[in-house]
Symmetry: C2
Subunit: 344 residues, 2 copies
Amino acid sequence: MRATLIYGAGDIRVENVPDPVLREPTDALVRVLRSCVCGSDLWPYGSKPAAEHGDRIGHEFLGVVEDTGAEVTGLRRGDVVVAPFVWADNTCDFCREGLQTSCRHGGFWGAQDVDGGQGEAVRVPQAEGTLVKLPVGEDSALLPSLLTLSDVFPTGHHCALTAGVGPRTTVTVIGDGAVGLSAVLAARRLGAERIILMGRHKDRTDLGRDFGATDVVEERGEEGVEKVRELTGGDGTHTVLECVGLRPAVETAFGVVRDGGTISRVGAPQYPEVPMDLQVFFRNITLTGGVAPARAYIEELLPDVLDGTVEPGRVFDRTVGMDDVPAGYRAMADRQALKVLIQP
Amino acid sequence: MRATLIYGAGDIRVENVPDPVLREPTDALVRVLRSCVCGSDLWPYGSKPAAEHGDRIGHEFLGVVEDTGAEVTGLRRGDVVVAPFVWADNTCDFCREGLQTSCRHGGFWGAQDVDGGQGEAVRVPQAEGTLVKLPVGEDSALLPSLLTLSDVFPTGHHCALTAGVGPRTTVTVIGDGAVGLSAVLAARRLGAERIILMGRHKDRTDLGRDFGATDVVEERGEEGVEKVRELTGGDGTHTVLECVGLRPAVETAFGVVRDGGTISRVGAPQYPEVPMDLQVFFRNITLTGGVAPARAYIEELLPDVLDGTVEPGRVFDRTVGMDDVPAGYRAMADRQALKVLIQP
């Protein structure tokens, strides 16, 4: 089968790799219907040292079950399923607490001999715990939105949820990438009435407004902080959803959060330290968030996707086949595309 | 009257200062029955640059109302009252949310022409919002425990509460100072059954055991982290109460917290940054806490103090008069005393 590999910064290749086979009785084989490129894939795409051997990449996919191991019940050939971006048994104590990203028997796609998601098929470990069956056919028009249940929409939801977003909270979302826009959508879904989106790509912030943003702040840094404070009577917002992962975004978050408020970060941190000094201490600011346990949220978010209440798939603005995956990476890295859908 | 001033590191003096008088109609005058030295007073005591003029110091006191301004209702001469360590109107939006430390019309004792608490009397701004009447006489044996409502016990409570301590959570308390021990007491009061106290002063950790600690870990740094992990099946505890304020304590906190867990810090941070890198992100660790809005908790904690359910005043192991306040500071700085009570 064909799959995507990364050899180093800027070096994405699509190659023939061995077809996946069942290895463990808890495995399933899934033929991929849709995959996509994640903002977090752009970190290695931007900085990975060149290597002789490529690494499999991609962690978001939706597909059709082709075969299952002897111990897999509840899934059968032909089922359309979505996989969260971390596989997990969904039965250990962490999973039962809704923290499948810390599953005692789970792991990441594309690591340790597990397939990446950006290919034609995937061997899914802990298939029964990992996969969620979708009540749609292979040709459903909802596939793009359903694919977002793999990562980007639950990540936005995790951000809003851990920040404590609700009807009475004001929200600032930092970042107009696919995660930021998903966070807007999730915050609106949780009842937030005031959502300030910080971003400066008009096509993206326009989608953000469609998703529920009530205000858009284009300015960055100190200027951006001033603008959000102006919009909130000088106080800042109760919650801040940090969807970038860079140090300046974190600094902005501390600038726009209201005393007693919460910053949730779901942008994979490209920084080692966070400024939490005496001033932050006196203001009782909470910093939460982290990698989203997407698996914990899929069942909850699914109905709203199925009935069209939310359309998170609108973050996809380009679709490529396997041949064009490298071009898809380039388009996202160059900000020509917001998020690239892959149709193998 | 006599009051305590700090002139620089190690230079505490007791001097005659003008008697306080009512200035605003919202003021009250309080004759101090008991005050005390706080661990946070030891920061300037350890490092304040020498100055020609001293600054008033002390932010914990309990006393008797001597006079009230025209707008103060609900308090009258002779009432025994306790003051939280930040004064506040208790009516603004932040106060109504229980964040009196961010009160729009509040401030700190000993700053901006407001008396410090370590003296014979205090002019109390926003008296009606700030002071809480206590149903005891001037000679009550409960005065030491009631005085802890000013700061150290609510600070421990804030730490445990914001960390989410409850019956099903395991707890590590870092620090065996008066705040750490108060955090143990507060965690036990909130129902925690497993409380690991990290500290190495036996007389203090013994009091910690009386307060509810189930385990004591003397080791520090990596060794201490290993020990806590051993005690918790390798996982760490759901919550960590950081009651020191130094960088190594924060690092230990990240080492002993369970995936998905919460660190709450109430040790005033003597560090500018916190290590919250990709590993912390993948583990979904929350960092919360801050300066405790003691005022928000006094009414809730008071009944348990009055009926003897808790005896937070046991943290006081030395009592001094005004003359000996400098010696009291020395004793605390030298760790000869855990917490010094001042009886003017």
